[in-house]
């Protein structure tokens, strides 16, 4: 339930061990790598100089970073191509990370070898398929639909005074031809329909060859050349085509068998090589953060302090490793939040705003509790809460955090539903354990305000602790969200609230005196801080400007306290809206006069309220968190801890 303590890990190892070490570190998923080169340049990469490591530290002067290996990227592409040629599909999730790493050269040469082996059958298949395609196309375009055509093409070819052509015409051109038949000295025979248009057979006197050609061209006639080998009747040609196609298909099959054989022979090997390829390229990617010299590699990364011993063990598995764990660097560590299962979903809400800084309190538990409380008050309904719980469980399968959030909100709804005695908007089914909001309007509004005040006070405490952690005296002691602010707020509550409720919480003069003191603290916060810190001068350059700003910020402070407190009235108001909306639907139902009408109205009402009001309440709750509360205690300018792993990018 906190921000984990981080430590910086620096490692120096032999350069040929780098892959193994990295792989082992990645497997732990506990290291957030940073650029080692940057660490070294900024002198954060510190080791004690001793005899045994002096050599490594001298080498520090000759470091570079890893370069992207373009040749290797090509081989990755080749590997993927190989996968697709052989119809192999490997599951990226099932990569074998345990196997020892192969050398790049070995992977390359092995992949190349298999790749070469598949090239011949692949090219053959390609060529054969092209031929089949051609034949099929020709078949479809020529004699497919020709039935009564007893003459052989050979005979036609041998005619002395007549020639023939075959080809395709578009619809528009065919129309033109039809309308002008009487002027064309040729016999035209429609022989079929193909995808490209209508197929015609044209027979004409050889003497008119030139004219015919010109006429046909003006019609965009796309000639189909009948291959020399075909000389029988269309029927015979068709049969021959079929035979040829069959032969080609069986040849293709043969080549495919060869590929299948290769696949069978190499399948496991290819899987292994692909895993290696993938791992190597992933490591290459990660290695860009690693620095190297001739003999050594240098690596830096953030780890949680609780993981130090585990990582030390991992490193001990490698020879000649030198490691350093260091808590205090000039850099800000990333934030690793650690929350129990109950509060984990609320981390999502917090991260949506900003990750806590490393030295900031993790607000997640507070956010979780307060958010559930608000939600419950606003959306208290046993039945709808149950729907939310079920919805959350179902959603949780896909979106774990959001589903979890919904479940918890649902539980809160159910609890308050029991307290309010409401089930699916029906208020008469079960008795209220606490009260019916709509019958106690003032009470529910008061409850909302008091809850808000309580929550606000907690957030002041958070703010003060955060300031303390930042060693920020000015904000922590004298800030309007610091100790002075809290005192002022309490006094105002006591004075104003007391007079509203008609009870004296604190004697008026004392209350006012304390409030004025707190105010003075806020106004003079800079000089006061400087006195405590023994810094001079007391003010910055612009003394007048400082006080003008300071006094104006007092007005803002008062306003923020007032509006912040009243803001929580919405929590009560929404509890009323919730009931009010149902009342409206119930009325509509009664107006229909039938039981069926009432049921329909209530079902529609429930859907409407669950969807629309649910969304509004969700947003209002977020608004309260982000604007009224976070602004008082939370900065959220940290950087999330993102451990590198083999899987993610």
């Amino acid at each position: 339930m906190s921000v984990e303590k981080m430590t910086m890990m620096n490692i120096i190892g032999k350069v040929d061990e780098v892959d193994g070490v990295l792989k082992d570190l990645l497997k732990t998923k506990k290291v957030d790598l940073v650029s080692a080169l940057k660490q070294i340049e900024e002198n954060n990469f510190l080791f004690d100089v001793s005899d045994e490591n002096v050599d490594r530290l001298i080498d520090l002067n000759y470091i570079t970073s890893y370069e992207k290996d373009e040749q290797f990227e090509e081989i990755v592409k080749k590997g993927e191509e190989l996968e697709s040629i052989l119809n192999l599909e490997f599951d990226k999730a099932a990569i074998d990370t345990e196997a020892p790493m192969m050398k790049k050269e070995e992977i390359i040469s092995e992949i190349d070898q298999i790749y070469q082996e598949v090239q011949e059958p692949k090219a053959m298949i390609h060529a054969l398929e092209k031929e089949v395609n051609y034949l099929e196309n020709f078949h479809a375009n020529s004699f497919k639909e020709v039935q009564d055509f007893p003459v052989t093409i050979g005979e036609l070819r041998n005619m002395e005074y007549f020639s023939f052509k075959m080809g395709i015409l578009s619809k528009e051109d065919r129309y033109k031809l039809k309308k002008n038949y009487e002027n064309i000295l040729a016999i035209l025979l429609h022989t079929g329909t193909s995808v490209d248009g209508e197929v015609y057979f044209v027979l004409y006197p050889t003497k008119l060859e030139e004219e015919m050609k010109r006429i046909l061209r003006s019609l965009n006639f796309r000639e189909i050349i009948i291959p020399k080998e075909f000389s029988g009747t269309p029927q015979e040609i068709r049969e021959k085509l079929e035979r040829n196609k069959e032969r080609l298909h069986s040849e293709i099959k043969g080549q495919q068998n060869i590929l299948e054989e290769i696949k069978l022979r190499y399948k496991d090997r290819i899987k292994h090589l692909m895993d290696q390829l993938w791992l190597t390229s992933r490591l290459d990617e990660i290695k860009r953060k690693v620095a190297i010299s001739k003999k050594y590699f240098y690596l830096s990364g953030w780890i949680a302090e609780s993981d130090v011993s585990e990582l030390k063990m991992v490193l001990d598995g490698h020879e000649d490793m030198l490691s350093m764990f260091k808590d205090d660097t000039s850099e800000k560590p990333p934030t690793k939040l650690k929350n129990n299962w109950f509060f984990e979903p609320f981390q999502w809400l917090v991260n949506l705003y900003g990750t806590p800084a490393y030295n900031e309190l993790d607000p997640t538990p507070f956010v979780g509790l307060s958010y559930m409380l608000f939600w419950g008050i606003m959306f208290g309904d046993l039945g709808q809460g149950a729907v939310l719980v079920l919805g959350g469980i179902w959603l949780g399968k896909k979106m774990k955090l959001f589903g979890g959030l919904l479940t918890r909100l649902g539980i809160s709804s159910m609890i308050f539903g029991t307290l309010y005695g409401a089930v699916f908007g029906i208020e008469t089914l079960i008795p209220a354990l606490w009260m019916k909001p709509f019958e106690n309007i003032n009470d529910i509004l008061m409850v909302a305000i008091f809850t808000g005040i309580g929550i606000l006070l907690v957030s002041y405490v958070y703010g003060i602790i955060n300031a303390y952690k930042r060693h920020d005296i000015e904000e922590g002691l004298f800030g309007k969200e610091g100790v002075a602010g809290v005192i002022l707020y309490l006094m105002l509550l006591a004075i104003v609230g007391g007079s509203l409720l008609g009870i004296q919480i604190i004697p008026m003069p004392i209350g006012i005196a304390i409030a004025v003191l707190a105010l003075l603290g806020i106004v003079f916060r800079l000089p006061l801080t400087h006195i405590i810190e023994k810094k001079r001068p007391l003010h910055g350059d612009d003394v007048g400007g400082y006080y003008v700003e300071s006094i104006f910020s007092l007005i803002e402070t008062f306003l923020a306290m007032l509006s912040g407190t009243i803001s929580f009235i919405r929590v009560g108001a929404f509890a009323l809206t919730h009931v009010g909306l149902f009342l409206a639907f119930e009325t509509i139902g009664h107006m229909s006069g039938t039981t069926m009408g009432t049921i329909v109205a209530m079902v529609v009402g429930n859907i409407f309220v669950l969807g629309l009001e649910g969304l509004i309440v969700f947003i209002q709750g977020m608004r309260l968190q982000y604007y009224e509360l976070f602004s008082r205690y939370y900065k959220g300018d940290g950087q999330e801890f993102t451990p590198v792993s083999l899987e993610n990018n």
């Binding site: 528009e172 309308k179 002008n180 061209r217 965009n220």
Partner: protein, 351 residues
Amino acid sequence: MGNERRFSAINTKIRVMRSRFLKDDDYMILMEKEKVDDQIKYLKESTVYGEHLQDMETLDDIQYVELQLDRFLVMQFKKIVKYFSDDYEKLFKALMFRYETEDLKLYLRALARGEDLEKSVKISVVRSAYYSFSYDKIKTAKSLDDFIEKLKGTKFYDVLYPYRHEAYSRLLFYMEMNLDRLYFSHLSEAAQKLSKGDREIFNELLGENIDLLNIEWIYRGLKFYSLLPEELINYTLPNGRYFEYKDLKDLCYGDIEHLKEVVSGTKYKELVNEDQDIDLYMEIRIQRHLYDKFKNSFTRGKMDISISIAYIHLLEFEIRDIISILEAKKYGLSYFETKDYLVRTIKGSGE
């Protein structure tokens, strides 16, 4: 969508755009200038086109002026297209397709001359990014066969494919004929999707345009080209307004005198008016006929597609006239001779 809503914005916009056209005075001033340089200087300094001629260093490059004006026209097109959606947008894109076709012809001609296509793209009207084909692909073409192969997958492929082995000398003719045909069929197709009223208006405009082009084609075919009547009729455009297939066929299988006789009995009789040389003036007469038609649309000013279509064509005629004036000056034609070659009638020309 109702026509009021569809056209109220664009028609207003077009009226403003049209008000920037040259006035008769501008034409007269242009024609009266002594030299081409002065004319271009006037265009540059005193007309809406000046903005597009700012890069000119020397003031004698008529070709460049024409190119810039054509590009201006395409730009206007793009502006207008933005006002439309769906089938109307498609129609205007189909109209724009013509300029793409023209550019393609440019590349074909360059290829025939064995020139580098890089040179042609510099004088192309449409920016290559807007082509429906890939300029980057075709620019590397080494031969015609290659060029056509690289157009595969576009509308152009089918119409050019049959000619890929043709000798260059005849080929350009065939290809250009087919590209024009493609443009018109594209346009007819797009027009069928318009609302009823607009479809009728557009079909009338397009139909008359097609009639005129067919008449011109047959006239020239009979007179100058040794084409078979079958070829002649096959290259005509379909969907004419008054001349249907059988009328055109009748012209194709007849002779010039027959054609003149038939045409003088129609509303296109001006085309074969013997007062002036028919061969020389046929083209300009066609344009005059269309010009009058489009001008009429503006005068009527209905809330329909006619205004936007008319605007584009009137702009085209304006550009044509400007270029004619420049060319006329270059070849030393007189004021009155120049007027004869203009689409529009300028005051005092006696027509």
